[in-house]
């Protein structure tokens, strides 16, 4: 494990490391370098712990055991059970649009900007393996028909942000921001009551342009976006967010939707649910009463 790097900002520390498939950052509103390093290391430990436990790319964790169970029941631990409960709630509330079993659809879709779309038969075969309603989940035992898979990627990163932030908040009373690949949580205002200035990245020009700025004192922020991975088909641009009920991409989803909520997980869930509404994303978020930005 590569140790994190530590850099001094204006009056805060920035720790950086790689986890969960992307760059991770911890901003700490304090002065002691050793304390900052210890806290960043703690965040890194938690990010890696969650990544190793819930990644579908590892051969030895609970997700792998579940996905290779071949129809046999699997007993899961308390933490996994809680995440499955949460995923079940999202499935129910989105009337089936949010579905952690929809990962297998990636077998027939490649979002490389090209024009390839799956043929009907292939899609039908894969769709038979999609659907949380086919899964029997009664805590703590999960029974899934063979061939189906679960993927916690849609909530894992936001959960890791909240979990890491909560762990750090118990160790220090200084304000901090945990940012894993753009999903972040701020525990409180900086010294002097100043908020953290969060820039919403322009997905078309990553790293160069900022579309918007959010001043965050406390809470979670997550962005869902359809801009970077897509397929062009019949002159239309189809984003990579798939509707598990049809197997086809959601059309008309916003390029980037940023939600600010009381936790990162809530923000991420709402932004995903909004994107799943396609063109109705803005209205969905307006109805929910949450603060958001749509681009």
């Amino acid at each position: 494990m590569t140790p994190p790097t530590l850099e001094r900002g204006e009056d805060f520390w920035v720790g950086r490391f790689a986890a969960m498939g992307g760059p991770c950052e911890v901003l700490l509103d304090l002065d002691d370098r050793d304390e900052a390093l210890a806290l960043v290391a703690c965040a890194q430990d938690e990010a890696l712990r969650i990544e190793h436990k819930f990644s579908r790319y590892r051969a030895d964790n609970i997700i792998d055991r579940i996905n290779r169970a071949g129809g046999e029941p699997v007993e899961v631990d308390a933490e996994t059970a809680r995440l499955l409960d949460y995923a079940a709630l999202c499935h129910e509330m989105s009337a089936g649009r949010f579905d952690i079993t929809s990962g297998v659809l990636r077998r027939v879709w490649t979002f490389d900007g090209g024009a390839r779309v799956p043929d009907e038969a292939a899609l039908r075969d894969v769709l038979a393996l999609v659907g949380w309603e086919r899964v029997t989940w009664r805590t703590p035992v999960l029974t899934m028909p063979p061939g189906m898979e679960i993927d916690l990627g849609g909530i894992g990163k936001e959960y890791a942000v909240d979990s890491a932030a909560a762990l750090l908040a118990r160790r220090t009373s200084s304000a901090l921001v945990v940012n894993f690949g753009g999903d972040l949580y701020a525990t409180g205002p900086r010294r002097g009551g100043r908020p953290w200035a969060i820039g919403v990245d322009d997905p078309e020009r990553t790293g160069q342009g900022v579309l918007d700025r959010v001043d965050l004192t406390r809470g979670g922020l997550a962005t869902s976006g359809d801009a970077r991975r897509f397929v062009t088909w019949q002159g239309r641009r189809l984003g990579h967010i798939l509707d598990p009920r049809t197997g086809w991409p959601i059309e008309g989803a916003p390029r980037a939707v940023t939600v600010i909520a009381s936790t990162c997980l809530e923000a991420g869930t709402l932004s995903t649910l909004a994107s799943l509404q396609g063109p109705g994303a803005a209205e969905f978020l307006r109805d929910s009463g949450v603060e958001f930005r749509i681009h």
Partner: protein, 78 residues
């Protein structure tokens, strides 16, 4: 038990019911507002050793007992 003690015990039971009952009357603390309560400083006795030491000092210098828990030990310091 003397009447005085019985009276005190009754008062205590009423107090417990009052506190428990008032909990229903006040606005419920939402799960997202439980952040501060998770801190180690948000407990009645954040340091077991320090409260144990204090209990021992005051037990041996004064005539009262009674803190947050049961158990603990006696000593010849009266």
């Amino acid at each position: 038990m003397s009447t005085r003690l019985r009276r005190s015990a009754l008062l205590f039971v009423l107090a417990v019911l009052a506190v428990a009952g008032s909990g229903c009357a006040t606005a419920k603390v939402q799960p997202w507002d439980r952040d501060l309560m998770a801190r180690e400083t948000m407990r009645f006795a954040p340091s077991k050793i320090e409260s144990g030491t204090d209990d021992h000092i005051y037990f041996s210098k004064e005539g009262s007992v009674g803190g947050l828990g049961v158990g603990g030990g006696g000593c010849g310091c009266n």
